[in-house]
Symmetry: C2
Subunit: 415 residues, 2 copies
Amino acid sequence: MGNIGTGLYKILQMNREKVENLLGRNVEIRKVLVRNLNKNRKIDIGKELLTTKVEDIIDDPEIDIVVELIGGINPAVDYIKRSIEKGKHVVTANKAVIATYGKELRNLADEKGVQLKYEASVAGGIPIIDTLINSLSSNDVEEIIGIINGTTNYILTQMSHSNISFENALKKAQEKGYAEADPTSDVEGYDAAFKLTILSAVAFGETISPDDISREGITKVCQEDIKYASKLDYNVKLLASAKKYNNSLELHVHPALIPKKHPLASVDNEFNALFVRGNAVGELMFYGKGAGSLPTGSAVLADIITIGKTNKMEQISDKVITNNDLKINGQGIGQYYVRLKVIDKPGVLGKIATTFGEYRISLDSVVQIGRDEKIVPLVFITHEIEKLKLDKALEVIREFSVVKEVSSILKVENL
Amino acid sequence: MGNIGTGLYKILQMNREKVENLLGRNVEIRKVLVRNLNKNRKIDIGKELLTTKVEDIIDDPEIDIVVELIGGINPAVDYIKRSIEKGKHVVTANKAVIATYGKELRNLADEKGVQLKYEASVAGGIPIIDTLINSLSSNDVEEIIGIINGTTNYILTQMSHSNISFENALKKAQEKGYAEADPTSDVEGYDAAFKLTILSAVAFGETISPDDISREGITKVCQEDIKYASKLDYNVKLLASAKKYNNSLELHVHPALIPKKHPLASVDNEFNALFVRGNAVGELMFYGKGAGSLPTGSAVLADIITIGKTNKMEQISDKVITNNDLKINGQGIGQYYVRLKVIDKPGVLGKIATTFGEYRISLDSVVQIGRDEKIVPLVFITHEIEKLKLDKALEVIREFSVVKEVSSILKVENL
C-alpha cells in the first residue's frame, strides 16, 4: 500500500466498471499486506482488508493473483516464489527482482502453470514488455535504445533548458519528488541497468546480470558538454542501449548525444521513451510516463486484466525464448564526442588531428570556442570508430604539453 | 500475393526459426490466392501453393488461419465472412472492411469461437490496436490524436522542409511510391477517417460510420499557412482525432497546428504516430512506419503468432466493449488559427479584433506580416473557443470592405 499500490487501488475505483465489463467477472481485493495497520492513508480502504501477515495472502486459496509492490529484493522475491508455488499468478513492478531472478521465476511459473507478469517493472506506463513479447514477436529485434530513468532525464533537461548545474538540477528533482534523498541508484545508472537487463531478456532471450552491463552515470556531465553538444545540434540524454552485432550483444548505460531532430531528443523531463528497431517493422518509438503511482498502477492493472482474460493452462503468450549464444560485449563501435582543454596556440589543432589520423580516427566535426584565452575547450565528434582505438589515441594526446585535460568522452547515437 | 502478402512471406522466411520456437509448432503456408498463376513474382514461391479459387482455401479443413490481404471491400468482406463461418481464424490488414463491417465481423467471430485480428489495418507496423485492447484496458481512454496517413504526412513535411507547393510535393510522393496515381483517398482524408473509425471502436467501444466523421483533406493547405504556423512555433499536420467530452465523442480528420516542441510535431515524412491519453496512464505516444510491405507484414505476422499462442475457445482477449451511449459530435471547442487577407491601413486590426471581442473570442496571438503592401495577410490564433462562435464572427468580418478574403481556418492542438 505504498505509492504504486495506492495508485492501483485508485485506478480500480475509477475504472472498475470498464474492467469488470471486459472480464465478465468481478475483481475483488481480498487482502493488502502493510507494515502498520494504524497508519493514516491517503485512500479510504476498509481496515478489515489490511494485514501484517503475508501468510494471510499466500495461504488463502481464494486469492488467484498476488500483486507484489514492495520493491527491493528482500523479502519481495521470497513472497513471489511462495505465491507461485501455491499456484497463484503474480504481477510485480519490481525491477530489481525481475532483473536478478527473472529467469528462475519465469521457469518456476511455467512449471506451476501460472503467469508471472512485470510490465510495470520497466518504463512505468509505457507497455514495452507486452509489446516486445507479443506485437514484436514477428521480428528479430536488432536494437533497443531507451530513456528509461525519469530522474536523470529530468535533471539533464533542467541542466539544458534552465542552464543550471548538475547539483542544482538534482536539488530541484528532489524537491519535486523525482529524485530520492540518496539519488545514487538513479544518477549512477543502476536503475537503468536493471531495466536494460529485463528488456534484453525479453527482446533477445539473453539473461544478463545487471553487473555485466557497462554503466556510466550522469554525475560527470557538465554544462559545458550540454552547451557544445547543442551547438553541434545534439541533446545529451542518459541512454540504455542494447544492440546486436552478428552474434554479439552490446549493452550500455551511459550519457550520450542524440541528434536534436530525432524524436528521442525531445523526450524531456520525467518522460521516458524506448526506440526499438526490428528486422521487419523497422524503427518504432514508444513514449510516456515512466514513473508515478497512476501510470505504473495502470501497467499493473493491465497485467491483472490479461491474467483475468486467459485460462491459465492455455497461456503461453509470455514465453521468453532463451538464447545463450549471444556474446555480451561492452566495447563500443560508434561515434564519439570528445572534449579537451588545450592551450590556445598555433598548431595545436593540427597536432591533435594528426594523432587521431595515425590511429585511423576520422573526424565528423570540430569546434573550438573562446579564442584568445589561454586555455580553451576543443570539441571533436568522430565518425564511426572502435572505442579501443580512441582510447589509445587519447592516451597519446593526454601526454602532449599543450593538452591540459581530456574533459569528456561521450557516445554519439546518430540514429 | 500483393505488396503486404509478399512482405509477410519474406518475414516468415527471415524469422521462421524464432516464430516456430516461440509457438512450439510449425507455421505452414498452405495456399495463396492469386489472380494470375503465371505472373512473375519478386519472391521464390512454389507454384503448387498458388490457386485462383478461393474455395481451395475456405473449404480446406486443414487451414486454421485465413490471412486476407486483398484490400477494398469486395470481395474481401465475403471471403472473411465465409472463412469465419467455416471456423477459421482471420487476420486482415483491410481498413475499409474493418471500418465498415468491423462490428458485424467481430460478432460473427465471437459466435463461431474464432479470432478476428486486424492490427495491420491502422498505422502499419505500430502495434496500436493490441495496445488499446490489452495494455490500455486498465484505462478510460480520453483522447487519441494520430498522424495515421503517411502520404499526407510526407507531402506536408516536404512542403515545410523543402518549401515546395502541394502539387510538387504530391508529385514527389507519387514518384517515391508514397502516393497513388489517384491520391484522393489519402489527400482528402478518407483513408484517415477509416482508420479513425477503427481506433474509436477499439478505444471507446463506439461504432461510427466513417461517413459521420467531420473530414477535411490537405489540398487547401498552402505554403503561407505552413510559414505563418512556423513563425508562431507550430507545425501543420493532418490529424485524426477523437476526444471524449463528458458523454460526447468529438471526431475530426483535418489539417491542424501542433506546437513544435510536442513529440508529434517531429513525426516527419512517411512516419506515423499516435498520441493517446488515458485517465490512469496519462500521455503516451507510439511512433513508427505506417505503411510498407515489411512493417505491415510484421503486424500481420504478430496477429498470426498471437492466434497460434492461444487456445481459440479460451480467448476473449480481443473483446471490444460496445458503448452506444456516447454522442458523436463534430463541432469543435478549441483553439483556431485564422488567416485573412486585408487592406493594410490604420484601424483594420482594431476593427477585426473588436468584432472577435463582441463574439467573446479572445486571442492568443496575432501576426501581421509585410507592412506597406496594399494587401497583407493577418494571422490570428484564438484561445479555446466554440467553433460556432468563430464561424459567426467570421461571417461578419468577411463582409468588411477592408477584408479581401478569409483564407484559412485551421484547428490548433495545444497538447
